[in-house]
């Protein structure tokens, strides 16, 4: 593959004025105004369905479509399709400039996209976290105090939507994009441009959601239930567009992952030799490809309800709010496993390395991941046990929901038996993985209460369910997200992270995470509903406790941020190629990984978990002469 990838880079001013983030933002804002005023001047008042209000919904959507198109044009995403429309032949990658500017432009190197994802998602993760801090500030007192009525709802909605939307790609975005091609012995993802597109769509989505505060916010929380969303301010459209873009991004990300894993595995990498992380990515990606389109469809209906005045969700006019609830949760429940499964995979991937034992029960672990992925399609109405939908189907959904704990239990068994009689090293990534067991156990067992209809009557819609999904998603995903960061960032950047700060981060996060969310189980049981700005004055002590813990949790995140900036920006201690003694292939490459990954496509002869089974086999076939002589 001869290539112009390492062509000499043009001068800086050319790079700044070319297709990059700067032009993307400028054209994006320009496109927004073109859409907005274009719609107003062309469409005029005749299509102003809302008569009395001072904006027209159609122009809101045209503005954002203009903005997104402008953004993508500015980044250079339309160059290739236009060349193809004019009949030029396909090519794999955009002209790469090298240097730091490639992180701010359309770059088709999967390693660059992985790092872009890490920082981009990190940014929005911290914005979501900031919202959580503001929510807890408001809940210091049992009645309104800091934010005006309505704003609290916007905060809750932004926190939930941001976290759900962004963290869906939280592991597949940075780590799978970076690692999957390496782990399967490939030099690229199947579709490098689509890979870049998923990232930049996510960034556009994040910007749209953050700016909802300028358009009145939205009152619906992350679920966006109609018909309340039909009533919402134009800020509601930001929610719809955010989640629709996230849905498109997720679909494409999953598609790219599956295509890559299925078609691009190196010789010898049979399905039973695939790293368990790749299995986790695969099972997640299947959910993404199939579930996210349902989300896009239901949001499309909602957008039509708001613009074209269709009546999908208006009961008095032939629609039904149950339609929204059903379709949303058909996406929504696979979605929570989109969040949880990569966490399982990371735990199972890291435990063998740090207990120096093979992954116990490989096939069972794979079966567990795929079983969760499959079962997650049959449980969605457990979110609607008291909604009055299909009262007679509740026993079925109760059963299917509890059945999911069987494949989830496989992950526990395989993880625990991998630790058993191992030689455990308590490194920072390992600590985060061990914390996963604790958090996910509490999260999973509290889920049993929610899956049981009689218990769910009290716990549904209360802080109990809120605590439950924070234990599973924050305790299950965010902890493993940090495990992955501490484990792989030295490989990705070539610099080590400070271990002492990492341990401080871990222990503060673990303690304050539990101190924040464990009392919420009690608060929920004692009758505090979610998303309500007021609560019974008797619950003030517990709520204050939670708020203070949450602030400490926020400080713990700042410790992490400090570690990141300090280690990667100032200390810059070069990382060893294989700091953890891992047998996985990415650690047999230099840190950071060279642009072409491998000189010669490796040949696999075993899975990467053969600890205690003698020296690892060579990946380079005999007689290979690629590379330096």
């Amino acid at each position: 593959m001869t290539d112009a990838a390492v062509a000499p880079s043009p001068p800086l001013w050319r790079r700044l004025l070319g297709f990059n983030l700067l032009t993307g933002v400028v054209l994006g804002i320009g496109g927004w105004y073109v859409g907005w005023f274009g719609a107003h001047s062309i469409v005029g008042p005749s299509l102003d369905y809302f008569g009395d209000i001072d904006y027209n919904e159609l122009s809101v959507y045209l503005a954002y479509i203009g903005g997104i198109v402008g953004f993508l044009v500015g980044l250079g995403f339309f160059n290739y399709p236009f060349a193809r429309l004019r009949g030029y032949p396909p090519s794999l990658r955009e002209k790469e400039t090298g240097g730091w500017t490639r992180y701010f432009s359309l770059c088709t190197d999967h390693k660059v996209v992985g790092i872009q994802y890490l920082w981009g998602i990190g940014l929005f993760f911290f914005i979501g976290g900031l919202n959580a801090m503001l929510i807890r500030t408001e809940l210091l007192r049992p009645h309104h105090q800091v934010f005006p009525a309505g704003t609290y709802l916007t905060l809750v909605g932004m926190h939930g939507t941001m976290m759900m939307g962004m963290m869906s790609s939280g592991i597949l975005g940075p780590f799978a994009n970076y690692l999957i091609p390496i782990m399967i012995g490939a030099r690229r993802m199947a579709f490098p441009r689509i890979e870049a597109l998923t990232f930049w769509l996510l960034m556009a989505a994040g910007a749209i959601l953050t700016t909802t505060i300028f358009f009145g916010g939205f009152p619906t929380g992350w679920t966006g239930y109609a018909p309340l969303s039909n009533e919402g301010n134009p800020g509601m459209d930001n929610y719809i567009l955010f989640f629709a873009l996230v849905g498109i991004s997720m679909t494409l990300l999953g598609l790219n992952m599956i295509a890559t894993i299925v078609t691009m595995r190196a010789p010898g990498l049979t399905w039973t030799r695939l790293p368990i992380f790749a299995w986790g990515v695969l099972s997640t990606a299947v959910l993404m490809v199939l579930a996210a389109p349902v989300l896009v469809a239901v949001l499309a209906m909602e957008a039509l309800d708001r613009t074209a005045q269709t009546t999908f969700f208006v009961a008095a006019a032939g629609g039904s709010n149950y339609l929204y609830e059903n379709l949303f949760w058909v996406f929504g429940h696979p979605e929570v496993y989109i969040l949880a499964l990569p966490g399982f995979a990371i735990v199972l991937e890291l435990l063998p390395v740090f207990s120096r034992k093979p992954l116990w029960g490989y096939r069972l672990a794979v079966g567990g991941l795929l079983g969760v992925s499959l079962l997650s399609w049959f449980v969605w109405q457990h979110h609607l046990f008291v909604s009055g939908i299909n009262g007679d189907l509740r026993p079925f959904y109760m059963l299917s929901t509890e059945l999911i704990s069987i494949p989830t239990g496989f992950t526990f068994l395989c993880g625990m038996m991998t630790l058993w009689r191992g030689s455990i090293r308590f490194t920072v990534p390992m600590l985060f993985c061990l914390a996963w067991f604790f958090n996910f156990l509490l999260g999973g067992l509290s889920g049993v209460f929610l899956s049981d209809v009689p218990s769910d009557v009290t716990t549904h819609g209360s802080f109990f369910s809120m605590a439950h999904f924070h234990y599973t998603i924050m305790g299950g995903l965010v902890f493993t997200f940090f495990a992955a960061i501490y484990y792989w960032v030295p490989k990705m950047t070539g610099w080590e992270l400070n271990e002492r700060l990492g341990k401080i981060h871990f222990w503060t996060m673990f303690v304050f995470f539990n101190s924040t969310f464990a009392p919420l189980f009690a608060i929920g049981f004692l009758g505090q509903p979610r998303r309500a700005v007021t609560y019974a004055s008797g619950l003030q002590f517990l709520n204050d406790w939670v708020s203070v813990s949450a602030f400490c949790l926020g400080i713990s995140m700042l410790i992490f941020l400090f570690n990141l900036v300090w280690s990667l920006g100032f200390v810059k201690k070069p990382a060893e190629a294989n700091p953890w003694g891992s047998r996985s292939i990415e650690f047999q490459l230099p840190s950071p990984v060279p642009v072409h990954n491998f000189d010669r496509i490796p040949v696999f002869s075993s899975d990467p978990y053969g600890y205690g089974e003698g020296p690892p086999p060579s990946w380079v076939p005999a007689g290979a002469t690629a590379g330096r002589d």
């Binding site: 008569g51 009395d52 209000i53 001072d54 005006p148 009525a149 916007t154």
Partner: protein, 226 residues
């Protein structure tokens, strides 16, 4: 890059982030909010008495809002001007005489039960000088309701064919209007929300978007202070 330069960079990023967070939070704290408006308190026989004069208008007008076509409540301040303030401070254990001038037409109540005046002295209101026990639910233009205090009353609307309809607020008293008077008593201190129950936000589904869900228009607080 030298360490000093890096430190300056980091500091700049931190400051920029701080400014943006501050901007974000301040934007959130002022989003559709209005400050509490203290009503003048008279003292009658050692007992606090408040006269609350409010106006309900179909279109708040460009003078008072960025959204001139929104329906709104207005309150009269001490200098006799109409202000778009809906968070009102009241003393505890006070008698509040309320006068509502309604310049808006009827939209109709969705739940007719709320047309029964409740929670004020005598469970009865004066409509254009006539004592009234029940308003025709279909004639209701707005309600003034403080659910936590049990106060609910429907405000009858101006007839559609009335002459001299008010356009944009503030509406002069020469425009067609209905006058509603009643009295209620505040008790313990607290924050009590008040709202309108009539789906009167024209253009939104269920008539409950925009001004109906924005403090400063059809919703507000009674901040009862000790």
């Amino acid at each position: 890059m030298r360490v000093g330069v890096k430190l300056v960079l980091v500091a700049a990023v931190v400051v920029a982030a701080g400014v943006m967070i501050g901007f974000y939070v301040s934007n959130l704290t002022t989003l559709a909010g209005s400050p509490a408006y203290s009503l003048p308190v008279q003292n009658v026989n050692g007992h606090p008495v408040v006269n609350l004069e409010i106006q309900t208008v179909a279109a708040v007008g460009p003078q008072l809002s960025r959204n001139p076509d929104w329906v709104s409540y207005l309150v009269r301040n001490t200098s006799g001007q109409w202000k778009r303030e809906t968070v009102w401070s009241l003393p505890a254990n006070a008698t509040v005489h309320v006068t509502i001038y309604n310049f808006d037409g009827a939209s109709g109540l969705r739940n007719p039960f709320l047309a029964r005046p409740q929670g004020m002295a005598g469970n009865r209101i004066m409509v254009d000088g006539k004592p009234t026990d029940a308003v025709d639910p279909n004639e209701a233009s707005h309600t003034f309701a403080v659910p936590a205090l049990g106060i609910i009353l429907a405000i009858p609307g101006v007839a559609d064919d009335a002459k001299d309809q008010c356009g944009y607020a503030p509406c002069p008293m020469s425009n067609a209007h209905r006058t509603i008077k009643f009295t209620f008593h505040t008790t313990t201190p607290g924050h009590f929300r008040w709202q309108c129950f009539v789906p009167c936000a024209a253009g939104w589904i269920d008539g409950f978007g925009g001004p109906m869900q924005t403090i400063g228009y059809m919703d507000g607080f009674l901040n009862v202070k000790a």
